[in-house]
């Protein structure tokens, strides 16, 4: 358990982002939000999160593109990523290019609607 860890929530739906932030703060984490992959990339440098909770379908830059970018960045490649997706069980059937998906290896995939307990357990496991 790392209650002081900082978690970045990357989610384009303002309400969902706010609720996940509240859930995380309720558990003692520090949470910051970004509303698309591009904004998240810009914030990475200043925020230095310990873990990223990432949505897949977002405007500007989707979750796969964002994830493949941080996986190729020496400073951030080891930051754990939990990807929240509506298509986790059939990820290869999606419209996203397969090579992008392959390079965007997340540490955990959770299918929406996620159970809050599952998200908290995954975070706890990855921060150990």
């Amino acid at each position: 358990m790392a209650p002081t860890a900082k978690i970045m929530v990357v989610e384009d739906d303002l309400d969902e982002a706010k609720l996940i932030k509240m859930v995380l703060e309720g558990e003692g984490y520090e949470a910051v939000c970004a509303f698309n992959g591009k904004e998240a990339l810009e914030k990475l440098e200043s925020e230095r999160p310990n873990l990223i909770v990432l949505d897949v379908m977002m405007p500007e830059m989707d979750g796969f593109s964002f994830c493949s970018k941080i996986r190729s960045s020496p400073e951030n490649k080891n930051v754990p990523v939990i990807m929240l997706t509506g298509v986790a069980k059939r990820i290869h059937d999606t419209k996203y290019p397969l090579d992008g998906i392959m390079r965007a290896e997340a540490d955990e995939y959770l299918e929406k609607p996620i159970k809050t307990e599952d998200l908290l357990q995954a975070i706890s496991r990855l921060l150990k």
Binding site: D15, K18, M22, G26, G86, K112, P113, I114, K115
Partner: protein, 506 residues
Amino acid sequence: MTHPSAQPTNCWDYLACDYGPDSPQPCLAAYDEASNGINRGTNGGRACWEIVGVLSGSEVLAPCAQLQNCLACGFLHLVRSEEGQSFQLLKLARGVSNPEVLQQTIVKVESFMAIHERLRSHFDLNQTIAEITEEARKVTGAQRGSVLLVKGTPPALRGTLQLRGKECEVVIGLDRNTAAGFAAIQNQIVNLRDIYNTHRSSGGPAFSREYDAQFRCRTHSFLAAPIRDSEERVIGVITLANAKKRFFSTDDEWFMKNYATEVALAVEKQRFVQQSISTLRLAAIDETIAGLSHCIKNIAQALRSGSHVIKRALQSDNLQDIKAAWEILDRHIERLANLSMDVLAYDPVVREHSNGGSLNKLAEHVINLFREEARARSIELKLDKGKNVDPARFDAMDIYRCLVNLVSNALDACPLSEGVVCVSTSRTKEKEFCISVSDNGSGIDEKAKEAVSKLFQTSKPQKGAGLGLPTVAAIVNKYDGRMEIDTTPGAGTTFRISFREDLALA
């Protein structure tokens, strides 16, 4: 028609292809010396369609004919216009010098062209079959013609026959004892003449005179050609019959064979169209479901997270978090309600009536949606359609929402046994219609009646009254309509809502 003095254009020149006589790999039309001179061409250069094209009677060999239908090719039409009455189109016409016979042949082939055109534009199989039958009848000079397709249980040759201006249904068993059945089973053309004076040869096809007796006609000569699909399975027969003492020629057989092919194409096209429509529908449904699923998942996600935050905040009396989460939940509940309305907008009946039309049909549609629920709860659901209501001007979505809410409330108000809900429509003024929904429940008390009435007295959106009535009130007010409630404790309630048509689509 005067022929130009210069050497006429051959197909390879017209199409500028690489398969002319001087090419290393000439097309068969280019070196078919047997066809030299036909339509004044070099070898088969002006009769290509019957040598290597779609009228060759065998395999289509020329690359150009594999790409398009010769009957639609500009070259065929050019040669025909240049040659006039000397034009030779088919092997059947080869060597025939009688201009009248040539002209007849052209007329017959033009009938194929017409059918091809129709096949390209028609989706209606029955209409296309009727047209092919009529063309076949006309070009062969037969009095009667029909297309009989193998269908039904037990499988039989089924179709219709025009007799004395009336359409008669024909069913012929798939057995060798009838000429049509024989053609289908043996997969061969049957051509019978002088039927009433010729004895059937053993094992050969024979015309069953029972059919003449059944249809009160007389058949002197009869021709049946099997219709084969692309996999060479017999799917029916095309038949011609003549009462006059005439026989069907080998030319007629040739044409019938080709008309049978046209019918097979029409049947296959119909199948293909149906499959395509079905595939498109499935794809559209798939896409819609995927979109809906995504939207519902997002809403469910917010509800789950919101519920978690509120539970936790309740434990610590954190009112600020409860308020923040509740506001978000409230928005998502609204999204869910809007989503259900968006789904309703895809209802085909609602779409059909988007600009008004039949109020009774829309009411019937809503009633049918609740039919199953009413049956499960032993409630009788009735619809009393007003006589002068239709056509009416209304916004289908709005009326639909009113009806759904009122019928749903009425069902809930019904007693546990012997419940009755009645929906009725009526025209109250020239430009005003009324919908009433009544139940035989316990009725509503004065206080509740007053609360409901208040909803209809303001144009501001109301919340929290439940039962979907705020939605109904907002819609009624939008159209400057009226709402009346008749309620008798213990006997039931009737909601009557009236709409002005001149404002319905404003």
